[in-house]
């Protein structure tokens, strides 16, 4: 009888002395297997709730930026990344990035981007772009808001990061984020110039870095540069400017 046999093998295994190396390996394997199955099942079962909480936090950050600027509810736009044209439906495909283009350390980027436009009648007053990129030891998630000329920063906020507390993590502080207001992103030739500098910033393209957080600062510089550039929202912003929306 196969069942009887299986029970016997199990019995024989349990009856082996605890000093036996086969039993040691077997127990280690079974404990690891049991624990990983239970943890995985919990994680899968709770995933929708966890995702919803993270989404709500990101939406809360968007609501904050909109509230702080005192503007009407933005319109959600799906944008084809390479052409900058509006799309009616999102696609879920991603494009791999060459290492020399990959300023934000993303490895790959979605082909459909989301942008939020705020209009006063037909006139564009604000564009809010979700941005993300590698910091010093975590991925930084935030929103970049541009004024109607599409070259002046209205706000930069971060809502998710795991940088060093008291140093890189201070990019979450409103005081630092406020430094970005009214800075210009690109010069007359269209090259992106805005960056975080170590020490005191001078001029309209520079933002004071946080002392002790140079690499987080570089991460922020690079991710802003990436998302405003040709592999990010560049084509979309260029199209808005051309249409005289800017």
């Amino acid at each position: 009888m196969p069942d009887q046999k299986r029970v016997n093998i199990w019995r024989a295994f349990l009856n082996r002395p605890n000093t036996d190396s086969a039993k040691t390996l077997g127990v280690a394997f079974l404990v690891a297997l049991g624990c990983s199955v239970i943890v995985s099942l919990t994680a899968i079962y709770l995933k929708p709730l966890l995702d919803a909480n993270r989404l709500r936090e990101s939406a809360g950050s968007l609501v904050e930026i909109v509230d702080a600027l005192g503007v009407p509810v933005p319109q959600v736009r799906l944008v084809e990344r390479t052409s900058g044209e509006y799309l009616s439906r999102a696609t879920s495909d991603k494009a791999a990035l060459d290492p020399d283009q990959d300023l934000a350390g993303l490895k790959e980027v979605e082909n459909t981007l989301t942008a939020y436009e705020v209009r006063d009648g037909a006139r564009l007053t604000l564009v809010i772009l979700p941005v993300r990129g590698a910091g010093y030891k975590s991925t930084l998630h935030g929103y970049l808001a541009l004024k109607a000329d599409l070259n002046t920063i209205a706000a930069l906020t971060f809502y998710q990061q795991d940088e060093t507390p008291g140093m890189g993590a201070r990019i979450m502080e409103k005081k630092w984020q406020d430094l970005w207001r009214d800075k210009k992103t690109a010069d007359a030739t269209g090259a992106i110039q805005i960056r975080v500098v170590t020490g005191a910033a001078s001029g309209i393209y520079e933002v004071d870095g946080i002392s002790g957080a140079t690499r987080t600062g570089n991460g922020v510089s690079n991710l802003v540069k990436f998302w405003l550039g040709t592999n990010g929202y560049g084509p979309y912003l260029a199209r808005l400017k051309q249409q005289g929306d800017g």
Binding site: L14, N18, T19, D20, K23, T24, V27, A28, V31, A32, C35, S36, I38, V39, T42, A43, L46, L49, L50, N53, R56, E57
Partner: protein, 207 residues
């Protein structure tokens, strides 16, 4: 004195005041009553289930990998608690940050697994786990209440003492919001318990 594994750890062999274990988390999460409450619930879950599980398979745990097996079981339970908190109590889980994860290194949990669950059957182990977790919990809740009350004039976020800022009489003690105050309160608590029960005091060292 009671020998019941459920009652003994409440005062007589309390893990915090008598054995002085689990101090780090007691300092870190007692800034308010709500975080103390959630941390206590998390520890009750982890400690009772880890004790039962380890006790159930204790006859088959090889001595050479004993600690690894115990830590694996404890860590799995802690991850489950952490995920549940992030799913259902997101705001509080952000305030507790790493301290739920650090239950893995809480000496009470591994201590009870080694000292009790490895030698006793599942039912007394469950009682021992619950008893020790409650012994930890009541101290956390007491210190959490005192700190929140004196640092912010509130309990569970509800105003109890009206602050001077709101036209009342109470000036908050900022020290109570900082970790050292938990040390002071804990020291006072240990002093009180050992005055009532002098047998808990350590023997003076012979020179």
């Amino acid at each position: 004195m009671s020998t019941n594994p459920l009652v003994k750890p409440i005062i007589a062999e309390n893990p915090v005041t008598f054995q002085v274990l689990g101090i780090c988390s007691a300092l870190a999460v007692t800034t308010s009553l709500s975080t103390s409450l959630v941390m206590s619930a998390a520890l009750i879950f982890v400690l009772s289930l880890s004790n039962v599980t380890i006790s159930t398979i204790r006859a088959h745990i090889p001595n050479s990998i004993r600690l690894i097996v115990q830590i694996t079981i404890i860590a799995s339970l802690v991850i489950i608690v952490d995920l549940v908190l992030q799913a259902y109590l997101f705001e509080i889980s952000k305030r507790l940050s790493v301290f739920v994860g650090l239950i893995v290194t809480n000496c009470i949990v591994l201590g009870r697994a080694e000292a009790y669950a490895m030698k006793n059957s599942p039912w007394p182990s469950l009682l021992d786990g619950i008893g020790n977790a409650f012994g930890y919990a009541w101290i956390l809740l007491l210190i959490g209440s005192v700190r929140e009350l004196l640092a912010a004039g509130t309990l569970m976020g509800h105003e109890v003492f009206v602050l001077v800022d709101n036209g009342g009489w109470f000036t908050p003690l900022l020290l109570m919001a900082l970790p050292p105050s938990a040390f002071f309160l804990l020291a006072v608590l240990v002093w009180i318990v050992r005055t009532i029960r002098p047998e808990q005091a350590e023997q003076e060292e012979q020179v």
